[in-house]
Amino acid sequence: MSAILALAEKIEQTPIGAAIAESRYAFPIIEGVHLIGLAVSVGLIFITDLRLIGLLFRQVPVQDILRQLRPFVLAGFMAVFVSGGLLFWAEAATVLASPAFPFKMVFIAFAGCNALYFELVIARRADMQGPGDVLPRAAKLAGSASLVLWSLVIIFGRLIPYLPRWS
């Protein structure tokens, strides 16, 4: 753990890390981009999940929702990852000291695996190609898992400053 923290402090002290942390405008602006990217990417994923569960947009075929929203979800994620990377660069040690941060990362990994399995396996099944009035159980499960996992990512992300230390 101390080795990781030492590395994190080194990352913070690199010229770019220090420049972001010390700039009056850079840090808040990057935080703003992170939030908007999140609203577009994870927000549209929430909408997709609600469709998979069968709660909303039942008149729109599932494949339409998946295909048409994909470029915007990915664009949002680009903004989230770049801004998130820059934020980490500027305060790696502070963020790592919070137990909320590793939990957030673990849930991102789970949510990513769930999305990959859905895209590569479930979405390609024959019973997923129709209008989607009745969706297979696997699709509902993947949608519910996505909803829960991404919510946990948001919750732990927001908790980072509120749970500053492990003890």
Binding site: E31, G32, L35, L38, A39, V40, I47, V60, D64, L159
Partner: protein, 158 residues
């Protein structure tokens, strides 16, 4: 003391304001989480309708198939953000009232709601909306909503 300040003091010392501000700090964090998640639902639904109006997605779907449920999510998101936001405001009204990013956020919010309910609604209700008018109204509304998010995120840094 100005009348605004006396109202703010009354809010802060009200039973509800007192209850929230004196509660565990994770109650405040919980309110923020509700605020963020509800805002994401609101913004994503607005993006969804905007993409349809701009012709960037769901071009072959009737507008109603997309708009009806998206509108429900928008109202749900708006209601939850306003409730959680008001509770946060009541807990420390002076902190927010004198914060320039908060003032900007409220102005942008009013402008966004106004443009959404006038220009964008007009686009959505007309059968053959003018292309330039559509693009302009939808883009202005979206930019204003993004501005609300931006200003909101910056409140804590001022």
């Amino acid at each position: 003391m100005s009348s605004a300040d006396s109202i703010l003091t009354q809010l802060q010392t009200s039973a509800l304001g007192h209850a929230i501000s004196k509660s565990h700090h994770l109650v405040g964090a919980g309110l923020q989480i509700v605020h963020v998640v509800a805002f994401m639902l609101l913004l994503a639904s607005l993006v969804l309708i905007s993409l349809r109006l701009l012709g960037l997605a769901f071009r072959h779907q009737p507008l109603q198939h997309v708009a009806r449920d998206a509108t429900r999510l928008i109202w749900l998101g708006l209601a939850l953000t306003i409730i959680s936001g008001s509770l946060m405001f009541i807990a420390s009204p002076k902190l927010y009232f004198h914060n320039s990013a908060f003032a900007l956020k409220m102005l942008l919010l009013l402008a966004a709601v106004f443009v959404q309910l006038t220009l964008v609604r007009k686009v959505a209700h007309s059968t053959m909306p003018h292309a330039v008018f559509t693009r302009a109204s939808v883009s202005i509304a979206l930019l204003l909503w993004f501005g609300v998010a931006f200003a909101g995120r910056i409140i804590g840094f001022i």
